[in-house]
């Protein structure tokens, strides 16, 4: 298939997408408005309308819509492979993911049976009303959680990933030369340090960064002022690619909220508000088992976190509607995972009675709330917070807990971490391996949670700036390596896994940007 044909097809899809989205009717209205202006000359109708749309900012909005589409739709040809190959081209990983999903679902079902609670039940009317009146203070009088336990934790997931084997790569019983040194045994292509340097070139040491150069002891007000001035200009331009470019060097606290929404093309208009209200209403209608899982997760993590406890009530206002949001299902087109199915009572296995459970297809695990908490620092309005979180999830976070060969999937990130560490900290890697402490066993949980809950909140946000700016999660692996390098002296003295874990237990004092710079650019 020629390149031309593909791009034609892609553009057609894009146009189709635009035609069915709101911006199309908005543009039409705006164009009609332009036409009705008395200044329009009939002879130059088209030009006049176009100029009018440009000057009223519609060209920016259209460009932003196209940009968002480009960012979120993969440029893979549709004819090359069937749809499940698009989700995950490698058969053995596809199968591993399916087996993992089956396991999660089974454990969810057995919890239901054990505790004798349904996956879902309709709430009595009184309870519905009560829930809506308590909406902003759900932390008080939550459900009874004593019997509820998280379906899985990152370490369970790590075991699954460790057991992944490429069947074409088997060299028999003897652990020989072909075995990989780390615990990831899946051969995937990952970036080397040179490619990473290119990807994060704006972070190189000779470039001033927000998050370092605005805080140091030397008077740096100049840099800070310039950065703020530039940031305000970028925000005023309201153009996604500009904001993304700006974020490469980090966002000042006070501009981040706006920069991020521009990068992701989030506007939260009236329609979004209505949609959120509908989700909220849906929460009030039915009580789902996942609600209890979400509650339990918040109670186990955020409630006890000295940075995030103040946001507990916000988390329920985000997580519960999220579980009802079927728009989230669209991301499964690119996710190796598939939404779990359940069946209406008594119709087990009958396809026409199957329903996706939970409605958004995402079963939360221990630490899921950590994807939301850093965002609570940025958005006071729960609705805005909701859409930012949803976009972050369907763009990035879903990759951190599904098995795939995608370079930004958790397997790829884990392998990237191991490879970088082996290449650039060979001595440390082999020392830790020799005392029975595979580094990934410690770093894995950091990666799965995108470091949220491990670093201090401002550092997580600086890190996530780079995720959004590079549209890539690979910075997580780079940081994990950098942390090992940074604590190398102490790690080289440990004699056991527990001791190594203790050395790396508290990361709240770390400043992530200098660490990343050191590990990428200092050698």
């Amino acid at each position: 298939m020629g390149e031309l044909l593909f791009s034609q097809w892609y553009v057609q899809n894009l146009i189709q997408f635009l035609k069915s989205s709101q911006i199309y009717t908005d543009l039409q209205h705006a164009a009609q408005h332009e036409v009705s202006k008395p200044s329009i000359r009939l002879s130059e109708l088209k030009k006049g309308v176009q100029n009018g749309l440009n000057s009223s900012g519609w060209d920016r909005k259209l460009k932003n819509a196209i940009y968002t589409y480009l960012q979120t739709h993969s440029r893979l040809s549709p004819n090359a492979a069937p749809s499940d190959h698009l989700k995950e081209p490698l058969l053995y990983l596809r199968k591993a993911q399916q087996a993992w999903e089956k396991r999660i679902l089974k454990s969810l079902n057995s919890m239901c049976t054990e505790l004798n609670i349904p996956l879902a039940r309709k709430r009595p009317e009184k309870e519905q009303k009560d829930l809506l009146t308590r909406w902003t203070e759900l932390s008080v009088d939550g459900p009874d959680l004593s019997q509820i336990r998280p379906v899985y934790a990152p370490k369970d997931f790590l075991e699954v990933i460790m057991s992944l084997q490429n069947p074409n790569y088997n060299n028999g019983e003897t652990p020989g030369f072909y075995n990989m040194w780390g615990i990831i045994q899946v051969p995937l292509k990952v970036k080397d340090v040179n490619k990473l340097r290119l990807l994060f070139s704006e972070m190189s040491i000779n470039q001033c960064q927000t998050g370092i150069d605005d805080h140091s002891d030397i008077p740096t007000e100049l840099f800070d002022n310039d950065r703020m001035k530039l940031g305000r200009k970028v925000i005023a331009a309201n153009h996604g690619p500009l904001s993304q470019e700006y974020a490469k060097k980090g966002c000042p606290f006070s501009l981040r909220a706006e920069i991020w929404t521009q990068i992701m093309g989030i506007n939260t208009d009236d329609l979004d508000v209505m949609y959120y209200e509908q989700l909220k209403f849906n929460v009030s209608q039915h009580d789902l088992l996942v609600d209890s899982l979400l509650y339990k997760d918040v109670k186990l993590t955020a409630t006890n976190d000295d940075q995030y406890f103040v946001f507990e009530d916000y988390l329920y206002q985000i997580l519960l509607p999220f579980s009802r949001d079927t728009v989230v299902l669209e991301h499964f087109a690119q996710n190796s995972a598939s939404p779990p199915k359940s069946y209406i009572r008594g119709k087990l296995g009958v396809e026409e009675f199957s329903v996706i459970y939970p409605p958004n297809g995402v079963i939360p695990f221990h630490g899921f709330a950590m994807y939301v908490v850093p965002l609570c620092f940025l958005y006071q309005d729960p609705i805005k917070l909701y859409y930012v979180f949803r976009e972050m999830y369907v763009r990035y976070f879903f990759r951190l807990h599904s098995i795939s060969s995608h370079p930004q999937g958790i397997v790829g990130l884990s392998l990237l971490f191991e490879t970088l560490l082996q290449t650039h900290e060979a001595e440390l890697f082999f020392y830790l391996k020799s005392v029975g402490c595979q580094p990934l066993k410690i770093a894995f949980k950091w990666l799965v949670r995108a470091f949220s809950g491990y670093l201090s909140a401002d550092q997580v946000l600086l890190l996530w700036d780079r995720i959004l700016a590079s549209n890539s999660l690979e910075v997580l692996s780079v940081l994990a390596v950098a942390i090992f390098t940074f604590r190398k002296t102490n790690l080289m003295k440990v004699q056991s896994y527990n001791a190594a874990e203790a050395v790396l237990a508290d990361l709240t004092t770390l400043e992530v940007i200098p660490l990343i710079q050191l590990s990428l650019f200092s050698k």
Binding site: V140, V310, D313, C376, F377
Partner: protein, 425 residues
């Protein structure tokens, strides 16, 4: 700087690990309060004896102690309010621009304490004010008690009458200063974060009142109510909603022992800058510094400025939803009990930094010292105001920036127009 070279003798009234661990880490020698100590961490009760006229105890040049003799001028609610009121009046008389008022008669720069009356003394004044604005809530506090003891809310005059009837019939003691109450306008529009009310606990170290030398600690914290804030007056009896004292909150069933409802000031700054912008946040923190300096200036004339004394105050501040900070009260002996592990670290560092500023590291205390510590010993403190330095600072010698309060006044006007760094520091 070898700390081991000089071994100070210390006395300590409080059995608190954050104190004792600090003294031991410095290799100091424990002695009794009756012995020849160099450093005495006394509780507020003892301090009266140390400085009493009958006692006749004369402190030597190598002795320092952690309270000023009459700190009550600042740390008892009624006296603090009285002093601030007088300070404003005096400035007003001098036609000082700081005492400027707006058209409703409010001080533009010095309105930082909620309206307050002393009871029973000011009862008639209070009733007059209450009748003017009958729909406000007031908070009653015994002037001599701490940690939320004896506090209640009032929104009807009848509640106050009932209280005064009850307290009269209960005991026939003449009203002494201990039984006086202050009644203050309740800040009913507090800034909420995550829907919850909080107040700020900030630590301020004063090493001298004349000239004023004070330091602000960077590691203050917010204390959150465990219960969601609800302006509904029906909740008036649920004190958990209104009071942020950890001693009160600890009794609530939702108290969390891991973080103790405490949130660092740096988190507050991150949140406020992210959601409200840098200018607004800078202005708020600038105003907090400002109100602390003026509360200290208000008492600097009446405090007996003994050279042997220093004091570390716990300032309680509430921010309202217009981002205006209000001074609620000042504690002379902020709690040194640690509720959580990060709390313990914070308080250990606090005491360490206090000692470093009060006694030059590696030296014996000497009250003849200029009390200008080296920059590098400040730790997490920063200089809030140093009257000596302010006077020698070329910035403030500029005829437009008058020394002392005048310099502060200019800053306030700057802050209104455009955000400017606090030049008066």
């Amino acid at each position: 700087m070898s700390k081991t070279a000089v071994r100070l003798k210390y006395a300590c009234d409080l059995d608190k690990s954050v104190l004792l661990n600090n003294f031991e880490a410095r290799g100091w020698i424990a002695v009794g309060p009756e012995d020849d100590w160099n450093f005495y961490w006394a509780n507020v009760g003892t301090i009266r004896n140390v400085f009493s006229v009958e006692n006749g105890y004369r402190l030597q040049d190598d002795q320092v102690i952690n309270h000023f003799p009459n700190h009550l001028e600042l740390t008892r609610k009624d006296l603090m309010v009285k002093n601030i009121k007088r300070y404003r009046k005096d400035l007003d008389k001098d036609n000082n621009p700081l005492a400027e008022k707006d058209e409703t008669g409010r001080y533009i720069y010095l309105d930082f304490v909620p309206q307050t009356y002393m009871l029973p003394g000011d009862y008639n004044l209070f009733v007059e004010e209450f009748r003017k604005n009958p729909n406000t809530t007031w908070i009653m506090k015994p002037s001599g008690k701490a940690r939320g003891i004896g506090i209640f809310l009032v929104n009807k005059l009848s509640q106050l009458k009932k209280w005064s009837r009850d307290s009269k019939t209960n005991n026939f003691v003449p009203p002494s200063s201990k039984e006086t109450y202050v009644i203050s306008k309740y800040i009913d529009n507090p800034l909420l974060i995550g829907g919850k009310k909080f107040d700020l606990r900030l630590y301020v170290l004063v090493t001298s009142f004349r000239p004023l030398k004070c330091y602000m600690y960077r590691l203050g914290f917010c204390r959150f109510c465990t219960v969601k804030y609800n302006a509904n007056v029906n909740d008036i009896d649920n004190m958990f909603v209104h009071l942020t004292n950890v001693s009160i909150q600890k009794q609530g069933e939702d108290y969390n022992a891991v973080h103790g409802g405490k949130w660092t000031v740096s988190n507050l700054r991150l949140y406020l800058e992210s959601t409200r912008g840098k200018d607004v946040t800078d202005k708020l923190f600038d105003e907090i510094d400002w109100l602390i300096v003026h509360s200290l200036k208000a008492v600097s004339g009446v405090i007996s400025n003994d050279r042997h004394c220093f004091e570390c105050y716990g300032y309680d501040i509430i921010i309202d939803d217009n981002m205006k900070p209000w001074l609620i009260e000042v504690n002379a002996s902020p709690s040194l009990t640690s509720t959580t592990s990060s709390d313990r670290i914070l308080k250990y560092k606090l005491i360490n930094d206090v000692i470093n500023i009060v006694i030059p590291p590696g030296e014996m205390p000497d009250v003849r010292w200029t009390k200008v510590p080296q920059r590098d010993v400040l730790g997490n403190f920063y200089v809030l105001y140093d009257e000596d330095l302010a006077q020698s600072d070329p910035m403030t010698l500029d005829p437009k920036n008058k020394v002392g309060p005048g310099a502060l006044g200019n800053r306030a006007k700057d802050a209104k127009g455009r955000p400017s760094p606090a030049t008066w520091k």
